[in-house]
Protein backbone atom coordinates (compact mmCIF):
# COMPACT_ATOMS: atom_id res chain seq x y z
CA UNK A 1 0.00 0.00 0.00
CA UNK A 2 2.84 2.39 0.88
CA UNK A 3 4.34 1.87 -2.55
CA UNK A 4 0.99 2.58 -4.23
CA UNK A 5 0.54 5.79 -2.22
CA UNK A 6 3.95 7.15 -3.35
CA UNK A 7 3.22 6.15 -6.96
CA UNK A 8 -0.18 7.81 -6.79
CA UNK A 9 1.27 11.01 -5.36
CA UNK A 10 3.78 11.18 -8.20
CA UNK A 11 1.00 10.62 -10.73
CA UNK A 12 -1.13 13.36 -9.15
CA UNK A 13 1.79 15.81 -9.20
CA UNK A 14 2.41 14.96 -12.84
CA UNK A 15 -1.16 15.06 -14.11
CA UNK A 16 -2.13 18.19 -12.17
CA UNK A 17 1.17 19.88 -13.04
CA UNK A 18 1.95 20.72 -9.40
CA UNK A 19 5.31 22.28 -10.18
CA UNK A 20 7.83 22.33 -7.35
CA UNK A 21 5.83 19.89 -5.25
CA UNK A 22 7.27 16.55 -4.07
CA UNK A 23 5.37 13.43 -2.89
CA UNK A 24 6.43 14.14 0.71
CA UNK A 25 4.67 17.53 0.52
CA UNK A 26 1.31 15.76 0.26
CA UNK A 27 0.18 14.15 3.51
CA UNK A 28 -1.55 10.77 3.07
CA UNK A 29 -4.66 11.94 4.94
CA UNK A 30 -4.72 15.60 3.86
CA UNK A 31 -7.92 16.62 2.05
CA UNK A 32 -7.38 16.92 -1.70
CA UNK A 33 -10.17 19.45 -2.16
CA UNK A 34 -10.98 22.53 -0.13
CA UNK A 35 -8.52 23.45 2.59
CA UNK A 36 -5.90 20.76 1.79
CA UNK A 37 -4.31 20.78 -1.64
CA UNK A 38 -7.05 23.16 -2.78
CA UNK A 39 -8.00 21.23 -5.91
CA UNK A 40 -11.14 22.10 -7.90
CA UNK A 41 -13.70 20.49 -10.21
CA UNK A 42 -11.37 20.33 -13.23
CA UNK A 43 -8.82 18.55 -11.06
CA UNK A 44 -11.56 16.07 -10.09
CA UNK A 45 -12.02 15.31 -13.79
CA UNK A 46 -8.26 14.87 -14.18
CA UNK A 47 -8.23 12.41 -11.25
CA UNK A 48 -11.15 10.42 -12.76
CA UNK A 49 -9.20 10.19 -16.04
CA UNK A 50 -6.05 9.17 -14.12
CA UNK A 51 -7.89 6.30 -12.38
CA UNK A 52 -9.30 5.02 -15.65
CA UNK A 53 -6.11 5.37 -17.64
CA UNK A 54 -3.60 4.06 -15.10
CA UNK A 55 -5.71 1.53 -13.20
CA UNK A 56 -8.63 0.66 -15.45
CA UNK A 57 -11.19 1.97 -12.96
CA UNK A 58 -14.32 3.60 -14.35
CA UNK A 59 -16.32 5.57 -11.82
CA UNK A 60 -19.96 4.96 -12.58
CA UNK A 61 -21.62 6.49 -9.54
CA UNK A 62 -20.78 10.23 -9.15
CA UNK A 63 -21.87 10.06 -5.49
CA UNK A 64 -18.94 7.75 -4.78
CA UNK A 65 -16.45 10.45 -5.86
CA UNK A 66 -16.60 12.52 -2.70
CA UNK A 67 -15.48 9.63 -0.50
CA UNK A 68 -12.93 8.24 -2.96
CA UNK A 69 -11.21 11.56 -3.58
CA UNK A 70 -11.15 12.71 0.05
CA UNK A 71 -7.39 12.10 0.34
CA UNK A 72 -4.55 10.25 -1.34
CA UNK A 73 -5.08 7.43 1.16
CA UNK A 74 -8.78 7.00 0.30
CA UNK A 75 -7.91 7.03 -3.38
CA UNK A 76 -5.20 4.40 -2.87
CA UNK A 77 -7.62 2.22 -0.83
CA UNK A 78 -10.20 2.35 -3.60
CA UNK A 79 -7.61 1.63 -6.30
CA UNK A 80 -6.21 -1.31 -4.33
CA UNK A 81 -9.68 -2.91 -4.15
CA UNK A 82 -10.91 -2.11 -7.66
CA UNK A 83 -7.93 -1.90 -9.99
CA UNK A 84 -8.11 -3.84 -13.26
CA UNK A 85 -4.36 -3.68 -13.88
Amino acid sequence: MEELIVKLKNEIIDVLNLEGMAPEDIADDAPLFGEGLGLDSIDALELIVLMEKNYGIKLKDPNEGKAIFRSVKTMADYIEKNRKF
Partner: protein, 349 residues
Protein backbone atom coordinates in the same frame (compact mmCIF):
# COMPACT_ATOMS: atom_id res chain seq x y z
CA UNK B 1 -6.39 61.68 -30.77
CA UNK B 2 -3.28 59.54 -31.04
CA UNK B 3 -2.62 56.01 -29.90
CA UNK B 4 0.57 55.58 -27.90
CA UNK B 5 2.62 52.65 -26.66
CA UNK B 6 2.82 53.22 -22.92
CA UNK B 7 4.40 49.90 -22.02
CA UNK B 8 6.01 46.98 -23.83
CA UNK B 9 7.39 43.61 -22.82
CA UNK B 10 8.74 40.66 -24.72
CA UNK B 11 9.53 37.04 -23.99
CA UNK B 12 11.57 35.81 -26.92
CA UNK B 13 14.72 33.96 -27.83
CA UNK B 14 16.61 36.94 -26.41
CA UNK B 15 16.87 37.86 -22.72
CA UNK B 16 13.28 37.97 -21.44
CA UNK B 17 11.62 41.21 -20.30
CA UNK B 18 14.72 43.20 -21.17
CA UNK B 19 15.87 45.49 -23.99
CA UNK B 20 19.30 43.90 -23.74
CA UNK B 21 18.43 41.53 -26.58
CA UNK B 22 17.88 44.44 -28.97
CA UNK B 23 21.24 46.08 -28.33
CA UNK B 24 23.37 43.01 -27.57
CA UNK B 25 21.51 40.07 -29.09
CA UNK B 26 22.48 36.46 -28.56
CA UNK B 27 23.53 34.58 -31.72
CA UNK B 28 22.33 31.02 -32.32
CA UNK B 29 23.60 28.23 -34.55
CA UNK B 30 20.47 26.10 -34.72
CA UNK B 31 17.53 26.11 -37.17
CA UNK B 32 15.09 26.09 -34.24
CA UNK B 33 15.38 28.23 -31.12
CA UNK B 34 12.87 28.21 -28.26
CA UNK B 35 12.11 31.12 -25.92
CA UNK B 36 14.26 31.98 -22.93
CA UNK B 37 11.70 31.72 -20.14
CA UNK B 38 11.35 34.38 -17.47
CA UNK B 39 11.02 33.33 -13.84
CA UNK B 40 7.30 32.55 -13.89
CA UNK B 41 7.23 32.11 -10.11
CA UNK B 42 7.86 35.83 -9.68
CA UNK B 43 4.59 36.56 -11.46
CA UNK B 44 2.34 33.55 -10.97
CA UNK B 45 1.54 31.42 -7.94
CA UNK B 46 2.31 27.73 -8.69
CA UNK B 47 -1.30 26.65 -8.08
CA UNK B 48 -2.50 29.21 -10.63
CA UNK B 49 0.28 28.60 -13.15
CA UNK B 50 -0.14 24.83 -13.17
CA UNK B 51 -3.16 24.93 -15.47
CA UNK B 52 -1.62 27.36 -17.92
CA UNK B 53 0.27 26.26 -20.98
CA UNK B 54 3.68 27.80 -21.51
CA UNK B 55 2.46 30.24 -24.12
CA UNK B 56 -0.29 31.51 -21.81
CA UNK B 57 2.22 31.96 -18.99
CA UNK B 58 4.50 33.94 -21.30
CA UNK B 59 1.57 36.05 -22.50
CA UNK B 60 0.39 36.81 -18.97
CA UNK B 61 3.87 37.74 -17.76
CA UNK B 62 4.54 40.00 -20.78
CA UNK B 63 1.08 41.58 -20.42
CA UNK B 64 1.52 42.25 -16.71
CA UNK B 65 4.89 43.93 -17.23
CA UNK B 66 3.62 46.07 -20.14
CA UNK B 67 0.50 47.20 -18.27
CA UNK B 68 2.43 47.99 -15.11
CA UNK B 69 4.92 50.06 -17.05
CA UNK B 70 2.12 52.00 -18.74
CA UNK B 71 0.31 52.52 -15.44
CA UNK B 72 -2.83 50.87 -16.81
CA UNK B 73 -4.24 48.54 -14.13
CA UNK B 74 -7.22 47.48 -16.23
CA UNK B 75 -7.31 47.95 -20.02
CA UNK B 76 -10.59 48.65 -21.81
CA UNK B 77 -9.82 45.87 -24.30
CA UNK B 78 -7.60 42.83 -24.68
CA UNK B 79 -6.90 41.95 -28.29
CA UNK B 80 -4.35 39.29 -29.19
CA UNK B 81 -2.93 37.77 -32.32
CA UNK B 82 -1.64 34.22 -32.63
CA UNK B 83 -0.89 32.02 -35.59
CA UNK B 84 -1.12 28.72 -33.77
CA UNK B 85 -2.52 29.45 -30.31
CA UNK B 86 -1.68 26.93 -27.61
CA UNK B 87 -0.41 24.41 -30.14
CA UNK B 88 1.65 22.47 -27.59
CA UNK B 89 -1.46 21.54 -25.61
CA UNK B 90 -3.40 20.95 -28.81
CA UNK B 91 -0.73 18.43 -29.79
CA UNK B 92 -0.86 16.77 -26.37
CA UNK B 93 -4.63 16.45 -26.61
CA UNK B 94 -4.60 15.05 -30.16
CA UNK B 95 -1.72 12.74 -29.30
CA UNK B 96 -3.66 11.37 -26.32
CA UNK B 97 -6.72 10.88 -28.56
CA UNK B 98 -4.71 8.73 -30.92
CA UNK B 99 -2.79 6.81 -28.24
CA UNK B 100 -5.80 6.15 -25.99
CA UNK B 101 -8.31 5.45 -28.72
CA UNK B 102 -10.31 8.61 -27.92
CA UNK B 103 -10.65 7.59 -24.28
CA UNK B 104 -9.18 9.03 -21.08
CA UNK B 105 -8.67 12.53 -22.46
CA UNK B 106 -7.36 15.14 -20.05
CA UNK B 107 -9.70 18.15 -19.66
CA UNK B 108 -6.91 20.70 -19.11
CA UNK B 109 -5.33 20.06 -22.51
CA UNK B 110 -8.78 20.22 -24.09
CA UNK B 111 -9.55 23.58 -22.46
CA UNK B 112 -6.32 25.02 -23.81
CA UNK B 113 -6.67 23.52 -27.25
CA UNK B 114 -8.68 26.49 -28.47
CA UNK B 115 -6.91 29.41 -30.11
CA UNK B 116 -8.89 32.12 -28.36
CA UNK B 117 -7.86 30.92 -24.94
CA UNK B 118 -4.97 33.44 -24.86
CA UNK B 119 -6.92 36.72 -24.60
CA UNK B 120 -9.47 35.12 -22.32
CA UNK B 121 -6.83 33.68 -19.97
CA UNK B 122 -5.20 37.11 -19.71
CA UNK B 123 -8.63 38.61 -18.97
CA UNK B 124 -9.36 36.00 -16.30
CA UNK B 125 -6.00 36.69 -14.69
CA UNK B 126 -6.58 40.47 -14.71
CA UNK B 127 -10.28 40.24 -13.88
CA UNK B 128 -10.92 42.28 -17.02
CA UNK B 129 -14.52 42.32 -18.28
CA UNK B 130 -13.80 44.61 -21.24
CA UNK B 131 -13.73 43.77 -24.93
CA UNK B 132 -11.85 40.54 -25.61
CA UNK B 133 -10.78 39.01 -28.88
CA UNK B 134 -8.04 36.80 -30.32
CA UNK B 135 -7.18 36.99 -34.02
CA UNK B 136 -5.92 33.85 -35.69
CA UNK B 137 -4.88 34.74 -39.23
CA UNK B 138 -1.53 33.07 -39.79
CA UNK B 139 1.13 35.64 -40.75
CA UNK B 140 -1.04 38.71 -40.13
CA UNK B 141 -2.54 37.64 -36.80
CA UNK B 142 -0.77 40.36 -34.80
CA UNK B 143 -1.41 43.07 -37.38
CA UNK B 144 -5.11 42.10 -37.46
CA UNK B 145 -5.29 42.46 -33.67
CA UNK B 146 -3.53 45.82 -33.87
CA UNK B 147 -5.75 47.05 -36.67
CA UNK B 148 -8.91 46.14 -34.79
CA UNK B 149 -7.60 47.91 -31.70
CA UNK B 150 -6.86 51.06 -33.72
CA UNK B 151 -10.42 50.96 -35.07
CA UNK B 152 -11.78 50.67 -31.53
CA UNK B 153 -9.69 53.67 -30.47
CA UNK B 154 -10.83 55.57 -33.58
CA UNK B 155 -14.48 54.92 -32.79
CA UNK B 156 -13.96 56.10 -29.23
CA UNK B 157 -15.08 52.69 -27.92
CA UNK B 158 -11.92 52.30 -25.84
CA UNK B 159 -9.28 54.54 -24.28
CA UNK B 160 -6.74 51.88 -23.39
CA UNK B 161 -5.90 48.39 -24.65
CA UNK B 162 -3.61 45.45 -24.26
CA UNK B 163 -2.45 44.15 -27.63
CA UNK B 164 -0.06 41.30 -28.20
CA UNK B 165 1.38 38.73 -30.56
CA UNK B 166 1.95 35.28 -29.09
CA UNK B 167 3.26 32.11 -30.68
CA UNK B 168 5.10 28.94 -29.77
CA UNK B 169 6.70 26.65 -32.31
CA UNK B 170 6.74 23.05 -31.17
CA UNK B 171 9.19 20.43 -32.48
CA UNK B 172 6.44 18.52 -34.42
CA UNK B 173 5.27 21.72 -36.11
CA UNK B 174 8.89 22.63 -36.84
CA UNK B 175 9.33 19.22 -38.51
CA UNK B 176 6.14 19.64 -40.57
CA UNK B 177 7.14 23.06 -41.87
CA UNK B 178 10.63 21.70 -42.51
CA UNK B 179 9.18 19.17 -44.95
CA UNK B 180 8.06 22.00 -47.19
CA UNK B 181 11.40 23.75 -47.01
CA UNK B 182 10.77 26.43 -44.41
CA UNK B 183 13.99 26.00 -42.49
CA UNK B 184 17.67 25.86 -43.24
CA UNK B 185 19.40 22.60 -42.54
CA UNK B 186 22.30 24.45 -41.00
CA UNK B 187 22.54 27.86 -39.37
CA UNK B 188 26.01 29.14 -38.59
CA UNK B 189 25.09 32.45 -36.98
CA UNK B 190 21.46 33.53 -36.69
CA UNK B 191 22.42 37.22 -36.51
CA UNK B 192 24.01 37.01 -39.98
CA UNK B 193 21.16 35.11 -41.60
CA UNK B 194 20.05 38.03 -43.81
CA UNK B 195 23.61 38.78 -44.92
CA UNK B 196 24.05 35.12 -45.91
CA UNK B 197 20.89 34.43 -47.96
CA UNK B 198 19.99 30.85 -48.82
CA UNK B 199 16.92 28.63 -49.00
CA UNK B 200 15.03 28.65 -45.69
CA UNK B 201 15.44 30.55 -42.45
CA UNK B 202 15.50 29.73 -38.73
CA UNK B 203 12.51 29.28 -36.45
CA UNK B 204 11.95 31.34 -33.36
CA UNK B 205 8.97 32.06 -31.12
CA UNK B 206 7.84 34.84 -28.87
CA UNK B 207 5.26 36.65 -26.81
CA UNK B 208 5.18 40.42 -27.12
CA UNK B 209 2.66 42.64 -25.33
CA UNK B 210 1.90 46.34 -25.77
CA UNK B 211 -0.12 48.52 -23.40
CA UNK B 212 -1.74 51.23 -25.52
CA UNK B 213 -3.49 54.41 -24.50
CA UNK B 214 -4.21 57.97 -25.63
CA UNK B 215 -1.59 59.32 -23.24
CA UNK B 216 1.59 60.51 -24.97
CA UNK B 217 3.45 61.31 -21.77
CA UNK B 218 6.36 58.97 -21.24
CA UNK B 219 5.25 56.78 -24.15
CA UNK B 220 7.63 54.66 -26.17
CA UNK B 221 6.17 55.65 -29.52
CA UNK B 222 3.01 56.69 -31.31
CA UNK B 223 1.25 54.25 -33.63
CA UNK B 224 0.44 56.44 -36.60
CA UNK B 225 -1.15 53.75 -38.72
CA UNK B 226 -1.54 50.09 -39.56
CA UNK B 227 -2.74 48.51 -42.77
CA UNK B 228 -3.10 45.00 -44.16
CA UNK B 229 -3.32 43.88 -47.77
CA UNK B 230 -3.95 40.31 -48.89
CA UNK B 231 -2.56 40.79 -52.40
CA UNK B 232 0.05 43.37 -53.21
CA UNK B 233 1.28 43.41 -56.82
CA UNK B 234 3.42 46.50 -56.16
CA UNK B 235 4.70 46.54 -52.57
CA UNK B 236 6.52 49.89 -52.98
CA UNK B 237 3.44 51.62 -54.40
CA UNK B 238 1.22 50.15 -51.69
CA UNK B 239 3.63 51.38 -48.98
CA UNK B 240 3.69 54.83 -50.63
CA UNK B 241 -0.13 54.93 -50.65
CA UNK B 242 -0.18 53.92 -46.99
CA UNK B 243 2.10 56.87 -46.16
CA UNK B 244 0.02 59.17 -48.39
CA UNK B 245 -3.16 58.24 -46.51
CA UNK B 246 -1.42 59.39 -43.33
CA UNK B 247 -0.44 62.68 -44.98
CA UNK B 248 3.21 61.63 -45.30
CA UNK B 249 5.68 60.55 -47.94
CA UNK B 250 8.93 58.60 -48.14
CA UNK B 251 11.12 61.51 -46.99
CA UNK B 252 9.26 61.49 -43.66
CA UNK B 253 10.44 57.94 -42.96
CA UNK B 254 13.82 57.59 -41.26
CA UNK B 255 14.00 53.80 -41.24
CA UNK B 256 12.24 51.06 -43.19
CA UNK B 257 12.26 47.92 -41.04
CA UNK B 258 11.48 44.84 -43.10
CA UNK B 259 10.61 41.24 -42.35
CA UNK B 260 13.69 39.88 -44.14
CA UNK B 261 14.63 36.50 -42.72
CA UNK B 262 17.45 35.35 -44.99
CA UNK B 263 15.27 33.03 -47.08
CA UNK B 264 15.87 33.78 -50.77
CA UNK B 265 12.21 33.57 -51.75
CA UNK B 266 10.90 35.55 -48.78
CA UNK B 267 13.48 38.31 -49.18
CA UNK B 268 12.98 38.67 -52.93
CA UNK B 269 9.88 40.76 -52.17
CA UNK B 270 11.97 43.21 -50.13
CA UNK B 271 14.83 43.24 -52.64
CA UNK B 272 12.32 44.31 -55.28
CA UNK B 273 11.26 47.36 -53.24
CA UNK B 274 12.16 50.64 -54.94
CA UNK B 275 13.07 52.65 -51.89
CA UNK B 276 14.42 56.22 -52.17
CA UNK B 277 18.19 56.42 -52.62
CA UNK B 278 20.01 56.32 -49.30
CA UNK B 279 16.97 55.03 -47.38
CA UNK B 280 18.09 53.41 -44.11
CA UNK B 281 16.81 49.86 -43.72
CA UNK B 282 16.68 47.58 -40.71
CA UNK B 283 15.83 43.94 -39.98
CA UNK B 284 14.55 42.31 -36.80
CA UNK B 285 14.00 38.63 -37.64
CA UNK B 286 17.69 37.73 -37.13
CA UNK B 287 17.03 38.61 -33.47
CA UNK B 288 13.73 36.77 -32.97
CA UNK B 289 13.55 34.11 -35.68
CA UNK B 290 10.59 33.47 -37.95
CA UNK B 291 7.13 32.75 -36.55
CA UNK B 292 3.59 33.80 -37.36
CA UNK B 293 3.52 36.82 -35.04
CA UNK B 294 7.15 37.89 -35.51
CA UNK B 295 5.94 41.37 -36.65
CA UNK B 296 4.97 41.99 -33.01
CA UNK B 297 8.66 41.62 -32.16
CA UNK B 298 9.40 44.00 -35.05
CA UNK B 299 7.08 46.60 -33.55
CA UNK B 300 8.72 46.04 -30.18
CA UNK B 301 12.18 46.60 -31.71
CA UNK B 302 10.94 49.75 -33.48
CA UNK B 303 9.43 51.10 -30.25
CA UNK B 304 12.73 50.52 -28.42
CA UNK B 305 14.60 52.39 -31.19
CA UNK B 306 12.20 55.35 -31.06
CA UNK B 307 12.33 55.52 -27.29
CA UNK B 308 16.14 55.64 -27.48
CA UNK B 309 16.10 57.85 -30.59
CA UNK B 310 18.57 55.59 -32.34
CA UNK B 311 18.86 52.56 -34.56
CA UNK B 312 21.42 50.17 -33.05
CA UNK B 313 23.95 48.37 -35.21
CA UNK B 314 22.27 45.07 -34.29
CA UNK B 315 19.14 46.06 -36.26
CA UNK B 316 20.63 48.20 -39.03
CA UNK B 317 20.91 46.19 -42.23
CA UNK B 318 24.30 47.71 -43.02
CA UNK B 319 25.42 47.25 -39.40
CA UNK B 320 25.84 50.99 -38.81
CA UNK B 321 24.25 52.69 -35.81
CA UNK B 322 22.18 55.80 -36.57
CA UNK B 323 21.09 58.46 -34.10
CA UNK B 324 18.18 60.88 -34.23
CA UNK B 325 15.53 58.66 -35.81
CA UNK B 326 11.90 59.75 -35.45
CA UNK B 327 9.80 57.55 -37.71
CA UNK B 328 9.95 53.85 -38.60
CA UNK B 329 7.92 52.07 -41.26
CA UNK B 330 7.51 48.33 -40.65
CA UNK B 331 6.86 46.14 -43.68
CA UNK B 332 6.12 42.43 -43.65
CA UNK B 333 4.60 39.75 -45.82
CA UNK B 334 3.71 36.12 -45.28
CA UNK B 335 4.16 33.79 -48.22
CA UNK B 336 3.71 36.73 -50.60
CA UNK B 337 0.05 36.89 -49.63
CA UNK B 338 -0.50 38.78 -46.41
CA UNK B 339 1.26 42.15 -46.51
CA UNK B 340 1.33 44.52 -43.56
CA UNK B 341 2.33 48.13 -42.98
CA UNK B 342 2.84 49.69 -39.54
CA UNK B 343 4.07 53.22 -38.95
CA UNK B 344 5.52 54.29 -35.61
CA UNK B 345 6.84 57.70 -34.66
CA UNK B 346 8.77 59.15 -31.79
CA UNK B 347 7.00 60.92 -28.91
CA UNK B 348 10.07 63.00 -28.03
CA UNK B 349 10.67 66.63 -29.04
Amino acid sequence: MGVYIGGVAAVSIQEPLSEEGIFRPVAYSSPQVRCIEPEFRKFLEPMVARRMSKIVKRAIVASSVALEEAGIPMPDAIVSGTGLGCVEDTEKFLDAMVRNGEHCLQPTFFIQSTHNTISSQIAIRLGCHGYNNTHVHRGISFESALQETMLLFGKGSIHSALVGGYDELTPPYFRLLGRIGYWREEVKNSLHIVQEPAAGTFAGEGSVAFALSENAQGAWAQIEGVSISYACPDFTREAGLFLHRLGLNWKDVDVVMTGKNGDLENDRVYRNLSLPAGQTTAVYKPLCGEFFTAPAYGMYAAAVCLKQGMLPASLAEDGKEIKGIRRILLLNHWQEKDYSFILLSSCGD
